[in-house]
Structures are given as structure tokens and as C-alpha cells.
Symmetry: C5
Subunit: 92 residues, 5 copies
């Protein structure tokens, strides 16, 4: 899992029916210094997150399908599973 | 999942029979600034995408097999699951 | 698996119920010279690890779910599975 | 999946019995400009590929096991699934 | 799979019981020029490998569990599955 920032939305008219009803969020990865990485995922939202939110992302298909109740199969790899209040980093 | 751009096709006469009937697309990853990355995947098409299309790519084998109705097994990792109309990025 | 250093905690009020009762640790990857990488994972704790501990991280969902007794499904990819006493590196 | 070039063979006397009878090929990844990357995989051959061949590589364990009829279990992650005749890249 | 070099051992008193009885090896990835990468895995040994050995590493959890007879579940992602006698690289 990683911490990310929702930076945008994806609009796709032609898409797999399993995605209907879900927001497709563009989530940039946050690095350890709380800056944003150039890496990102397109993730399905499960916690009513929106642009600007700092979020916890699960980047693993089997777990993601369970959360979406798509098990055992479903076309998904990354989902937003939490909204982050704080990340307490202690440089050790 | 990620956003990519279809930049080419792969022609392979000798290949696994599961691929027969599918287009093998070369999809370059798009980065957050909408430029193209040097990373790419060879992805099976499921939405009639073609060269130049901006697409949503699922890069996870179990989900990909479900979409292709190859479950529980099939030699695939990446598929094109949507054609992207717009990516609204808000640099935050 | 990799060796990491716990550098912080994640506080998330809104999150998937499966995470309730687990500490969410920010674990920076250690490189071969025992320095810390810029890569990290948010990992669930299973061995009472805390900030500053040098730990063994399992970064694979199926194995992680077994340890947490969440099988066959659960929203997790990385967990802390050991506290490292020593890493004996012989540059060969 | 990705396009690669077979650049060598691996000789290993002591190995898991599941590998007996298969060629272990060193496959360098090809990048979008058809040059070779520094990344590589050790892949099992399924299409009689040899050194110098341009090949399609499946880098996902579940699919690879199906092709090798090792399902549901087998110690493999990458296999060569096709010999590439042409990659038509349209920079666009 | 990839070729690596065993460069060290990990000593961990507090760890998941599934690891008891296995050596935890630090394996540095070898690159195509036979030099060592900065990337590494902590891998369980299955072929009596030791520091200095050149080895074949399987970096996929489902296959690794089969080799260890931990199926269907077990906290492992990488294992050493062979000792490499030679890697014949032909720069093509």
C-alpha cells in the first residue's frame, strides 16, 4: 500500500461494465518527504475521496476485488481504501 | 491501472493459441503531464482501440482473464479496458 | 521480501474495516549498504514493531492475507513479518 | 507482456525438477525504440525460440503455469509465448 | 526469474513461524553484464545455496509456495530455485 494524493479524474465513455458507478481517480504517489512522485495509478474510489484528498491506496488485485465485492474476478488492480489524516514520519 | 497511448501493433505468427483473434497493441504509458513514458506494455485489445487512441490499461492477470472470459487460466497480463475521453488533472 | 526501517505511522480515520486494530506502518526500504531508499510501503504490523525497528517485510498479497488470517480475501499487500537482529552482508 | 530479445542461455545443474526439459532463456527487454534495455528476465521457452530471436514474453505466474500445464502450481513467472515478426510503432 | 548472487544472511529472532528452519538469504540481482545491481531480495533457500553462490531466483509467491509445499498459503515471495553454473550471454 502507499500514500497518494488524488490529482484528477478519468472520463471514459467506452469501458468495461464493471467500472460503471465508480469514480476513476488519478492518484499520484507521495514520497517519504510528502512530495508527489511522477508515478501514479488510476484507482477506483471506495471511500468518497475527491481531488486534493490524501489517500491510502491498495495496489493489489485480489484484495481490491474483495473490497469491491467483485470476487473472485474483476478488472481492477488499484483502489482507494482510506483517507489519510496524518502521516507521522520520524527520520531515523 | 494506468492511462496509455496505443503506439503500435505486434505481428507474431508463432504464438500461443489463446492470442488468436485478438489484436496485440503496443501501449506506451502516459505520465501525469500527459507526455509518454519510455515504459510500455503489450496489451490485448477488448474495446476496439487502435493506434493513436488514449486508453485505460489494466495491468493485472487475474482481472484481465475475467474480462477475456479465460478464467481461471490464460496467458495474459495486460489488456485495454477503456477508451479515455478526458483526464482532468488538477495539480494540487 | 526486503529489509526495511519503520520510519512512521499512518493515521486514517476513514478506512476499510479490515484495517481496524492494526498499526499501519510506513516502512522505508533499506538498500544493500544498509542506507534507506526513497521507496517505501505502508505495511500492517504483525510482530509489535515500532518506529526505528529494522524489519523484514513481505510484499505479496496472498501470503500477507494468510498471516493475518484474512484468507482467501483481504485488502492487504504488505506486512511486517519479522524484526531483524542482523543482516550479514559479504560483498563478494 | 513485453517484447524482448533472447540474448543467452542459463545452465544450472542444481535446480527445481519442474525446470527439467525446458530451456532457460535470458531475455533482454526491448524498449519502444527497439533498442535493448538493461532489464531482463530468465524465461522458460515454449515456442522453440533461440538466441537472437525477437520474442513476446508473458511475465505473470498464473498465466505462465497454464501454458506449461503446471496449474495450479509451478515455480515459474516468465515464459516466451511468441516469436515476433514485426512491431509496427507509430510515434504519435 | 532472475540471476543473483548470494551476498549475505538475515538473522531475525522474532519472525513468522513459517520461516523457522529456512535460511533467509540476501540475494543481489545480477545485471546483463554479470555485475551486481543495487536491487536485492530476501529469499528463502531451497537448494543449499550459500554466500558467494550464483543462483536462480523465483520472485513470485504462488510458485514459491508450491516449491516449499506451503500451498495454498504461506508468507513467501522469493526463493532460490537453482545454482547457476553458467550464463551464456550473446550480445546480439
Amino acid at each position: 500500500m502507499y500514500i497518494g494524493r488524488v490529482v484528477g479524474n478519468v472520463v471514459a465513455t467506452i469501458k468495461h461494465p464493471a467500472y460503471v458507478g465508480y469514480k476513476l481517480l488519478t492518484v499520484a504517489r507521495e514520497n517519504l518527504d510528502a512530495g508527489l512522485d511522477s508515478k501514479y495509478d488510476i484507482a477506483l474510489d471506495t471511500v468518497q475521496a475527491g481531488v486534493g484528498d490524501r489517500v491510502l491506496v491498495l495496489d493489489e488485485g485480489n484484495g481490491a476485488r474483495q473490497v469491491l465485492e467483485m470476487e473472485p474476478w474483476g478488472p481492477v488492480r488499484a483502489i482507494v481504501v482510506g483517507i489519510v489524516d496524518a502521516v507521522e514520519i520520524t527520520h531515523g
